[in-house]
């Protein structure tokens, strides 16, 4: 039986306005309730979820759901890492569609339901931020190569370009003219096809929270976190290396590759060590974030200092 996803039935604008109406009604009744109780503002609920003692393959314990969902960079909302969760609470992750095109044989638009149908396996990955902190995160998703195979890349396709939703009324940080929105990231095709490269739709066995890039984001665990673009709406296969938002903003500091590498310092920061969130002593940063065995071959013969 073919299930028809809701997003194909209701036009998006109508859907959104209906949600806005419900949201406003909800906010009004919540405000009335709060006024009646004389209460303050409600903080975003961070439900503790059990880690069941799980670890990454190196034996490091999972970061908690609370740590993962209350602290991250997401400049589309705010530059304050602890402020993203609150601002993203009302962000509508449904309906959602990802348009896949460019140099492909079968361009098409995937609804979230169709993406979920591509697989929902759990992958425990380390995430290393270029700022020098890290977490261990149980994502749920599917390898990107499954999606790419479905659209049949043409011979001329050498790179993959990803784009985040641009909707300033829902993402207040996008009003800031300092940044060349929308957020863009890119991978070489062989990086994109690598089995570690994930399109994540979930976290801790749940749907991906909006503050973490829900409903669908990229996760490239051997690169600095900013490469793992959030709230993806567009994926294009292209012939030339795309210019990411950070490359456009500070070309001397952010290269195309951005592989985690303790031997190549950011022009202004050492990348030799990192703080695992929740731990006191710093950890030495690992080459390719600990995934060198799987991915170092992708860069054989390349000067990683020049290709930072």
């Amino acid at each position: 039986m073919h299930k028809i996803p809701a997003s194909e039935i209701t036009p998006e604008q109508l859907y959104l306005s209906r949600r806005a109406f419900l949201g406003a009604a909800g906010a009004l009744s919540a405000a009335a309730l709060l006024a009646a109780c004389g209460g303050g503002t409600a903080a975003p609920a961070a439900t503790p979820l059990p880690t069941d003692g799980r670890t990454d393959e190196l034996g490091a314990p999972l970061s908690s759901f609370e740590q993962i969902t209350t602290y991250n960079n997401y400049y589309e909302f705010t530059t304050d890492k602890a402020g993203v969760a609150r601002l993203a609470q009302q962000f509508q992750t449904s309906p959602w569609a990802v348009q896949v095109g460019g140099l492909v044989g079968k361009p098409r638009t995937f609804s979230l339901e169709e993406l979920l149908a591509l697989g929902q396996e759990e992958r425990i990955y380390r995430l290393r931020c270029v700022e020098g902190w890290s977490m261990v995160i149980p994502w749920r998703g599917f390898p990107l190569h499954k999606l790419l195979a479905a659209v049949e890349p043409q011979a001329g396709a050498k790179y993959v370009r990803f784009e985040t939703l641009f909707r300033p009324e829902a993402m207040p940080g996008q009003h800031d003219q300092l940044y060349p929105w929308p957020y863009v990231e890119g991978l070489r095709l062989d990086e994109a096809m690598h089995d570690l490269t994930l399109l994540a739709t979930g976290l801790y066995g749940r749907d991906l929270t909006p503050q973490n890039g829900g409903p669908v984001r990229l996760v490239v665990p051997w690169k600095y976190g900013f490469k793992s673009i959030k709230a993806v709406v567009k994926i294009d296969l292209v012939a030339e290396a795309p210019t990411s938002l950070w490359m456009a903003l500070a070309p001397g500091e952010y290269g195309f590759y951005a592989n985690v590498n303790p031997e190549v310092a950011h022009p202004r920061w050492s990348q030799a060590s990192e703080r695992r969130i929740g731990e006191l002593p710093r950890r030495p940063t690992l080459r390719f974030n600990g995934y060198a065995d799987q991915v170092a071959a992708l860069y054989a013969g390349m000067d990683l200092r020049a290709n930072y």
Partner: protein
């Protein structure tokens, strides 16, 4: 240093009290946030950033006192330079202690590496080393003993402040906020530079209050 006309002693005392309370407030808020679990899941970074930013604000406020006197005749502001500067130094010490003692766990190998590989750490450390002798010679006794050398020594606050702004600029991902601090510092330096260029008349006139400006305030 007696001045001809000052605001009423009660107002001076209230301003001084406000400076003490205002300078300690960020520390109180930080301790409160820490005690009630309102810091982020990366509290060490919160502590580092908040003590650093407070130190920079207080340092710039301390430096703004002299221009305020020159431009607006707020002589009473001159007495605030020292407490503001010392409070700034208190936050700098906390900042440094958190960086070296908590963040890097007094691992001097890693700290040495951070100093050589992160230019913002080097700039911050240089700023601290310039400010250290100023804090140590902030007593009346030191002022007396050093005589005219005291003024020359304390001129180091300007390169120290420049290094502190550079420290912030070099660690920030975008330059906007550090540049605001930089603009304030440049404004302060500009007033000082203009004063030393067109100084003689101004200095000769120093004891005379500028006419009209704020005269009602002095009576209030």
């Amino acid at each position: 240093m007696p001045a001809e006309r000052r605001p009423a002693p009660t107002i001076r005392r209230l301003v001084a009290l406000a400076v003490h309370l205002g300078s300690l407030l960020p520390l109180a808020l930080l301790l409160f946030a820490g005690a009630t679990g309102q810091l982020s899941v990366n509290p060490i970074q919160d502590l580092t950033l908040r003590t650093g930013k407070t130190a920079l604000v207080l340092l710039l406020l301390s430096l703004a006192c002299t221009p305020l006197n020159l431009l607006l005749g707020w002589k009473w502001a001159l007495g605030l330079r020292k407490p503001l500067g010392l409070y700034s130094f208190l936050y700098i010490c906390l900042h440094l202690l958190i960086f070296a003692g908590v963040d890097y766990g007094l691992d001097f190998g890693q700290i040495g590496q951070a100093i050589t590989e992160k230019r913002y750490v080097l700039a911050g450390l240089a700023s601290f080393l310039l400010l250290l002798p100023l804090a140590l010679t902030s007593t009346k006794g030191a002022m007396r003993r050093l005589g005219r050398w005291w003024r020359r020594l304390h001129w180091l606050v300007y390169p120290a402040a420049l290094l502190a702004v550079l420290h912030f600029l070099w660690l920030a991902k975008t330059a906007r906020e550090p540049l605001i601090f930089g603009a304030v510092l440049l404004a302060v330096l500009a007033v000082r530079a203009l004063r030393s260029l067109g100084a003689p008349a101004r200095i000769a006139n120093r004891s005379a209050q500028p006419p009209a400006q704020g005269s009602e305030k002095r009576h209030g």
